[in-house]
């Protein structure tokens, strides 16, 4: 029970996922919401690596999925920050409550 195995890693990754979801629901600032999304994506990566290590040792497919998720997360963060900076420029705030209309 004490020896770390698949279930311990799955516990960590699901806990991390729900911490991220909690942050996404409670925060009202776009940058902190982006941080929560990063936590969620990291939990998914950890899940893929754990399954690849313990259930699929004769392949590297989980690892490739992790690499692609990291690449897409980097692209997503860059686009999100561009949008945040643009929103700050037009509304002078990055609070989601103040960005109600979708007008350029």
């Amino acid at each position: 029970m004490l020896t770390p195995g698949l279930y311990h890693l799955l516990f960590i990754s699901s806990a991390l996922f729900f911490i991220g979801v909690y942050g996404f629901v409670t925060r009202r600032n776009l940058v902190t919401m982006l941080m929560s999304i990063e936590l969620v994506l990291n939990s998914v990566n950890l899940n893929f690596i754990a399954f690849n290590k313990y259930l699929w040792p004769n392949g590297l497919d989980g690892l490739f999925f992790t690499i692609f998720i990291i690449a897409i997360a980097a692209a997503e963060a860059a686009v999100a920050i561009a949008i945040i900076i643009n929103l700050y420029r037009s509304h002078n705030s990055i609070d989601v409550e103040q960005a109600e209309e979708m007008k350029y």
Binding site: L2, L6, N58, R89
Partner: protein, 178 residues
């Protein structure tokens, strides 16, 4: 309890503890720093699992790239030393309750499920194995997703520039050289 097990639990506690602090602190800069430590903890777990390449990628991309990007955007959009506005206590309690219930449900289902491990020759996650399979065009190769992701990164970079670019006034546009 051997040293390896102790290190695993230490890394797990570090990751989860800093993640909780990152989503609950009211100082946004501290939240970014806590997120940084949480990501380093995940990289440590990858090292513990002996997936060295993924751990290195995690440190380079997340710790070195995304966190720095987030800190920059905090500096650009936030007044220094300003606390985030206090959330309604009802919303916090309700979200924590909902999240905890969902987590408990997932863990219950997980511990009831028996996973079946794959058999066969184990493939070590060395860099030569990863690189060979990543660029292979045979069955099981990942050359096509690799190309698609590189196109997506290019599109994202161009999209960032277009979105964040300051829009030029139409009155001054005629004075710019084409």
């Amino acid at each position: 309890m051997s040293g390896s097990i102790f290190i695993f639990y230490l890394l797990a506690a570090l990751t989860l503890g800093f993640a909780v602090m990152a989503v609950s602190t009211r100082q946004i800069f501290r939240a970014a720093i806590y997120l940084l430590f949480s990501l380093i903890g995940i990289a440590g777990i990858y090292f513990w699992l002996q997936y060295d390449f993924i751990a290195a990628v995690q440190i380079i991309v997340y710790v070195g790239g995304i966190t720095v990007l987030i800190i920059f955007s905090i500096f650009l959009t936030q007044q220094a030393g300003e606390l985030l506005p206090k959330q309604k206590i009802g919303r916090q309690v309700f979200s924590a309750l909902a999240v905890f219930c969902a987590f408990a449900l997932v863990m219950l289902q997980l511990y009831k499920y028996k996973f079946i491990a794959g058999t066969g020759q184990a493939v070590a996650p060395t860099i030569s194995n990863i690189g060979g399979q990543m660029l292979s065009i045979e069955e099981g190769g990942y050359a096509l997703p690799f190309e698609v992701v590189s196109m997506l990164l290019l599109a994202a970079l161009i999209g960032c520039i277009v979105i964040a670019m300051r829009s030029v006034d139409t009155s001054t546009q005629t004075e710019l050289p084409s």
